[in-house]
Subunit: 494 residues, 2 copies
Amino acid sequence: MPEPLSTRPRKAAEVPSWDLEADVVIVGFSISGASAALGALEVTGDVLAVERGGGPEGTCGGIIYLGGGTPMQKAMGFDDTTEEMYAFLLAALGPGVDEAKLRVYCDESLLHYDWLVRQGVPLATGPDEEGTMLASPEDDGFINVGGQEYAGGGLVWTGGEQAYPFSAQVRPAPRGHIPRDPDSDEDLFEGAVLKCLVRAAEQAGVRTEYNLAVQRLVVDENDAVVGVEGRRLGSLVRVRARRGVALTTGGFIYNDEMLARHSPAMLAVSKLGHGGQDGLGIQLAQAAGADAIHMDTADITLVLTPPMSYARGILVNALGQRFINEDTYYGRLGAEAAFRQGAIAYVILDESTFLDTSWRRPSWAADSLAELETEMGLPAGALQQTVAYYNRHAERGDDPLFHKAKRWLQPLAPPYAVLDLREQTFPMSAFTMGGLRTAVGGEVLRPDGSPVGGLFAAGRATSGLAVSGYCSGISLGDCSFFGRRAGQSAATGR
Amino acid sequence: MPEPLSTRPRKAAEVPSWDLEADVVIVGFSISGASAALGALEVTGDVLAVERGGGPEGTCGGIIYLGGGTPMQKAMGFDDTTEEMYAFLLAALGPGVDEAKLRVYCDESLLHYDWLVRQGVPLATGPDEEGTMLASPEDDGFINVGGQEYAGGGLVWTGGEQAYPFSAQVRPAPRGHIPRDPDSDEDLFEGAVLKCLVRAAEQAGVRTEYNLAVQRLVVDENDAVVGVEGRRLGSLVRVRARRGVALTTGGFIYNDEMLARHSPAMLAVSKLGHGGQDGLGIQLAQAAGADAIHMDTADITLVLTPPMSYARGILVNALGQRFINEDTYYGRLGAEAAFRQGAIAYVILDESTFLDTSWRRPSWAADSLAELETEMGLPAGALQQTVAYYNRHAERGDDPLFHKAKRWLQPLAPPYAVLDLREQTFPMSAFTMGGLRTAVGGEVLRPDGSPVGGLFAAGRATSGLAVSGYCSGISLGDCSFFGRRAGQSAATGR
């Protein structure tokens, strides 16, 4: 077995010559990397992005979490304020949120919206046919343009703002902004934002080096980062960064050794993202003295809806107990199931509510709850009791346990259909949210809070806005927002 | 505000002269430190332990988890095997257990027992008056000498071996070994093991330097650790380690900044241990390139029993749902409540079962469950339903939800007394279990798995045997076992 590659930084004194040079070197060219390039190019014309693949890497979805009264929110008739956005995110993403980062993200959300539009990210400001196609067919009830559950036209509820418990704490507004793919009307989720930002960075003058796999940082005698060392087709390549290096290398959901050491429960969950999320950038920075924080955290998606009608069912755990309001955001549902319910979640539906589709078949069906208990291996009587309690209150439009919205409250009646959500076409899937500890400007910090000189980072290689909870769109949001800042900081050499 | 102290390693080239020197320098003189000293003294006579306080530091309890058929287990009539110990701990401490460490700990448990006895740790091999006084008064039913719940005479059940789910997986044996304090018959939990090991290390020839607060590691041009730098009364003191440095500096439950970055839920929990558990040693090693792992994990104690009779009640969460078998280990109960039940746990007891003592007063008392629901703010009907289900099955000696042992199953009858376990004299309390990543020999590892030259660690400054779960006695167990190994490794300079 070959020795594992060392991630220890190379001493600059050992580097005989540099093969490439730039003021700012960006490692990893995706949403964060392209945003870092754009940020750096605001300061200097000499920016180089290196990427180990043959082109920009990423499979990220297309929702960006923005608010405080964006043009799209206004066009769709929603009121929102910076303070409501802040209050909601503090509750939804915590505990453990970096309040300084969240503060600046909310305060500058409208500016960031404008910046994204200037980079060519097409944030449509009204409902249109293409926009409403983005989320899900209207006949599912998933989108209700201008309505209360899901706003179409490029604006969606993506964090459970409109459901318990947040709806009782903060006036809800949808903040998931969906751009359209400029090259295609078909596929609006996949890659649209990446394409726009990469194109903008290229037009602004970023140089790119593909198929160059960075393996170590290069540090000077004061342990400041002054470049990177990598390989291209087996040849060593040394890249000097005159002002700073920005790491935008992604998370570590594809590194099972890191998961075992930081977040062992995630080994049992499917992976969201691409194989490049192997944590190498985090390790390179750690080897140079950086702190990595919240390494146990992950976003875990468990798809119950769409169709939204499935919120009329009840979710139960292995004991037949309900554990969450079924109308909440599927990231909250996934985290609850994965972290607190032993990764087990069943949805019990009326057979009339259940939709038999190509991608959803019932795991069990029965005429009585007692039968279901036997078939599902639930404790005898447990499901009967849960349904009896639920039905008794649902008849009165009440859900004393979890406060599901009235419109989804409907007593369950036989025959029943059950989905074991572990067996569905879209299984519980996760990406990591922990990573390098950074300051608001993207400066990578040591455990004592001092910066690692010359090193900056953004995106899922860092611990960003989301810590204990997640909302769709937060990743593209903080990757682009703090990516730009990391690039600016690297270019000023702060 | 003064700048926070830098934890970045000092370069050896910047050290003009050394104030102290030894083959092995041990930082932190407690259970792990004394064991490391003893291990190092097996190899070299030149070992120096430095401690920032005026003497050995520690308030640890007195249980050591050992098994595989120890003399005490045999004397008490319990059969145990290495494989059963391994199988139980793998289940109870995981997921995420370092199987190589667990393997050697179990394989060498009998040798470690003998070693502890040779160091003067008095592991009594039979029941006696002092022994049975250790745990709790017999009339509480807490101890039943030779019986199935708690074995007296220096041997206790400390991980839920005898309760669901482990009792169904592995033949149970008690493995919590309680030594007696050689200086006092009164206080057998507090400090006895520490005193014995410190005395043994002193007799074996360890030198000690108290009131010397280590602040940085010193590294050579290859980033290997060659000493430490600290302060005594404001004066800089440089200590050279010719062969190795062993960090035995404890965990970080008293460092709220580290908790916020790694384990924010722990900020809401009381702290177990002493203020020295501030994570400094972890930070010093990280700054020298070490990996820190499982930083979110903690042992969380929530005391329901003694008296063991309280296992006849039911534990419910904020929704009035049961969530665990009440006869399990209180560390499992604490982790379940803190991590998965929003840190809320109520125990519902018959008034006849409740004991009104100086340290336990009922939080609520009522003649009916409906009344209790109102007073406790539980959803109407939820507790009634839970108790009806529990009673129906308890009458038949059955607990289909959590498989509590038959002897504790007793239908609840009015009037009722309720304890809010958050309000009790012994609140939910925690210590951290995450820390430096080490190899089986105590070598501190970088994120890429390579060792940090010259640096070794043990105890709660490291991620040890316990990861996702805990058993009382594991800490003293791995602190002494891997402490000794870290000292041996440091002395051989591996």
